[in-house]
């Protein structure tokens, strides 16, 4: 199924996409970018994995962590807002300055942490959608093959329903 050029592209593009998404995440505070876009970019990297390695393998590797990713992201985002309570108001930006020994002086604030939460939610939700869609499209392709050659013994009806009751892709808001 996965073709050669896709596997080759995958090797090159996946690290690039992931690094780019990290870059977008961090520059999002003052410039275009941010958690949402970075999350979509990272999900694109996972989509490339799905295309080149097949969704079964990707599902086995990261599928179980997607729900946890959504939960973790939401929790991180809310906690970043709750840090603002130190300053008196929910969601007020609070800034810490870290003095790193080699790299020097790093100013980090709750908006970045909030963005990190958004990033986690978006990447998990988008990847679980993509996994669900690829599974449905696989089932549909199988169905089409079956109608072309009706001699196949296993019935397509057994493929379709369980595509709907996969617990890992719920529609979360």
């Amino acid at each position: 199924m996965p073709e050669l050029y896709l596997r080759f592209l995958n090797r090159i593009l996946t690290p690039v996409l992931l690094l780019l998404s990290l870059y977008l995440l961090l520059r999002g505070h003052n410039l275009p970018g941010g958690g949402f876009i970075a999350g979509l970019m990272a999900a694109a990297a996972f989509q490339l994995q799905i295309l080149s390695r097949g969704h079964e393998r990707v599902r086995r590797t990261i599928g179980p962590y997607l729900n946890s990713g959504i939960g973790l992201g939401l929790a991180v985002a809310i906690c970043a807002g709750a840090v603002g309570l130190l300053d008196g108001i929910f969601f007020k930006g609070v800034w810490f300055s870290l003095n790193l020994p080699v790299l020097g002086y790093l100013k980090i604030g709750t908006p970045v942490i909030f963005d990190l939460g958004v990033f986690l939610v978006v990447v998990s939700v988008a990847t679980s959608y993509l996994l669900g869609l690829s599974r449905v499209s696989d089932a549909a392709a199988l169905l089409r093959q079956d109608t072309d050659a009706p001699v196949r013994s296993d019935s397509p009806a057994s493929v379709m329903p369980d595509a709907n009751v996969e617990p890992s892709h719920r529609a979360e808001p």
Partner: protein, 552 residues
């Protein structure tokens, strides 16, 4: 004040954080995990109730207004969260309903649905409803509407029975249409008034041209009205409420349409109170038609839940009637109509939830809710029969209960403002409600015991489950009784809430959308306001002179 304003974030943040934690650990464990999820959810519901009580005491009891500018960004730029008596009343009732339905849900939701995420979805729905009651600008209101729509859609279809999917599609399509209309209204507000903040819209709307106001008000009436299930826009409700598990129906019946009713109350009192007078014939016509269609439709329905969902529509008509006469001159009190509508809303949320839960218990015991095939449950479940009867007569408006107080006050105000026809319609609809309730009770509890399903029912046999199901119903019925017995202080409180909601100037001053701009160059903010006001310099006088719309 700053710390107590932060309380406003809790009804949104607590359910969200709890749901996030549940999702975070959703991978590990089986039935023990579900038990932990239930404990966490119950904890969040209790926290939500406690905070709602605090807010209610501050806002409705002492007349405070809580304003939280998220992140300390001033009003038109940041996200405003606003809680006054009206919001706090609805938050309190929502917390009560959510906490009351939860034991019922725990007892009746099966393991499969729980594993599909019933408990976090319950919390997401609660978060969306709470957020809609607290939102201080149109965009966040839209976002919370979407959150609650998505959560309710998944709750409606979870389990993927064919009937559920069918009704879920109708539900989501009609609700998305309503959301689109609302979004168009928000776009018009932003395009013509340059703002989405409620307080700033209220400030600038009197200066806008009458056409803008009419279109904005009409779109909001259609959008919110279809969420509230008013007369020509209610079709999503009876199409969907009878298919999910009874616990979900009870939650929906208690909460969902009330968000639409709240937004109608808020938008008409804050944005265009003058339309409450000039559109009064149209609003009263809609209210009358809603009452009548709901009650008549219920008469023709074959199942318990269908009857009850038509009655939700009928009751929304009563609330709209109260809103429509909120500003009419009368000999009783200022804003009497709105006060009556608010106490009706309280009564409705409490007793409707109780009744749907009791009906759900009947359905779970019998295996079906078709009135023609069930009967005689009174000999097996006398306590359930008693509770159902009490809830039914409260809904119909029989004296010691809250239904009497709320219906009487609504009747008083409509008679006092000389709207004889709609008053007559409301009495007729109440009569039909009484008939329907008696029909429900007689068909399901009286006569010979007949149970259509051959599958043995274990739901009401187990002692723990029976307690989990019947205790919340009993508590809600007692609450309704208390609201009826202490009707006078309750009504005084709801009059205070109504008068606070009608005080637009206090809202604008509390949020003060233009106050903190002094650090910016002068004239920065006044530009859009002026450009708007040049459209119609005589906007206000124009509105007053406009002829009222003829009723449909």
């Amino acid at each position: 004040m700053a710390m107590s304003a932060n309380l406003l974030a809790v009804p949104v943040a607590a359910p969200l954080l709890t749901a996030a934690l549940i999702l975070l650990f959703a991978r590990w464990g089986g039935r023990t995990l579900i038990r932990h999820q239930i404990a966490l959810t119950a904890l969040a519901l209790c926290i939500n109730l406690a905070v709602a009580v605090l807010l209610f005491r501050g806002a409705a009891g002492q007349g405070q207004q809580f304003v939280l500018q998220l992140g300390a960004w001033p009003a038109p730029f940041g996200i405003t969260i606003y809680g006054d008596g009206l919001s706090a009343t609805l938050l309190l009732l929502t917390a009560l309903v959510a906490l009351a339905v939860y034991p019922f849900a725990v007892a009746t939701i099966d393991y499969h649905r729980a594993r599909m995420g019933f408990h976090p979805l319950y919390l997401f729905l609660l978060m969306g409803v709470n957020g809609a009651f607290l939102a201080g600008d149109l965009f966040n209101l839209y976002v919370f509407f979407e959150v609650l729509l998505m959560a309710s859609f998944v709750l409606l279809t979870i389990g993927a029975q064919p009937a559920q999917t069918n009704s879920g599609i109708r539900y989501v399509v009609l609700n998305l249409l309503a959301s689109t209309v609302f979004l168009v209204a928000a776009g018009i507000a932003y395009g013509t008034l340059g703002t989405l903040n409620f307080a700033q819209i209220a400030e600038r709307l009197p200066l806008a041209s009458p056409a803008v106001r009419t279109v904005f008000a009409g779109l909001l009436l259609v959008g919110f009205g279809s969420k509230a299930a008013i007369f020509p826009l209610f079709f999503w409700l009876p199409a969907s409420y009878h298919t999910p598990p009874p616990a979900v129906t009870a939650l929906f019946g208690g909460l969902l349409t009330k968000v639409g009713v709240y937004t109608l109350f808020r938008s008409f009192t804050l944005f265009f109170p003058e339309l409450l007078l000039s559109w009064q014939p149209a609003l009263l016509t809609i209210a009358g038609a809603t009452m009548l269609v709901g009650a008549l439709g219920a008469l023709a329905q074959p199942g318990i839940r269908r009857v009850l969902s038509f009655h939700i529509i009928s009751h929304v008509g009563f609330m709209l009637m109260g809103l429509a006469v909120a500003l009419s001159g009368n000999s009783l009190a200022i804003g009497f109509g709105l006060g009556a509508a608010i106490i009706y809303l309280c009564h409705h949320m409490i007793i409707k939830t109780a009744l749907i839960m009791a009906g759900g218990a009947v359905e779970l015991h019998m295996g079906s809710d078709r009135l023609a095939s069930i009967g005689g449950l009174v000999s097996r479940q006398p306590f359930l029969a008693f509770l159902f009867f009490m809830a039914a007569i409260s809904l119909a408006g029989v004296p010691p209960f809250s239904g009497f107080v709320s219906k009487l006050s609504l009747l008083q105000i409509t008679l006092d403002t000389r709207h004889w026809v709609v008053a007559g319609v409301s009495v007729f609809a109440s009569l039909l409600t009484m008939m329907n309730m008696m029909r429900l009770w007689r068909e399901s509890f009286w006569g010979d015991y007949s149970r259509p399903s051959r599958v043995p029912s274990r739901i009401l046999q187990s002692g723990v489950r029976q307690k989990l199901i019947l205790t919340p119903v009993a508590v809600l019925v007692l609450l309704s009784l208390a609201l009826g017995i202490w009707g006078e202080p309750a009504f005084r409180l709801s009059m205070q809430v109504a008068q606070q909601a009608l005080d637009r100037q206090a809202y604008i001053e509390a949020v003060s959308p233009s106050a903190q701009i002094s650090t910016l160059p002068a004239g920065h903010l006044t530009v859009p306001a002026e450009s708007v006001s040049t459209n119609s310099p005589d906007g206000l006088s124009n509105a007053a002179a406009r002829t009222p719309l003829v009723s449909r």
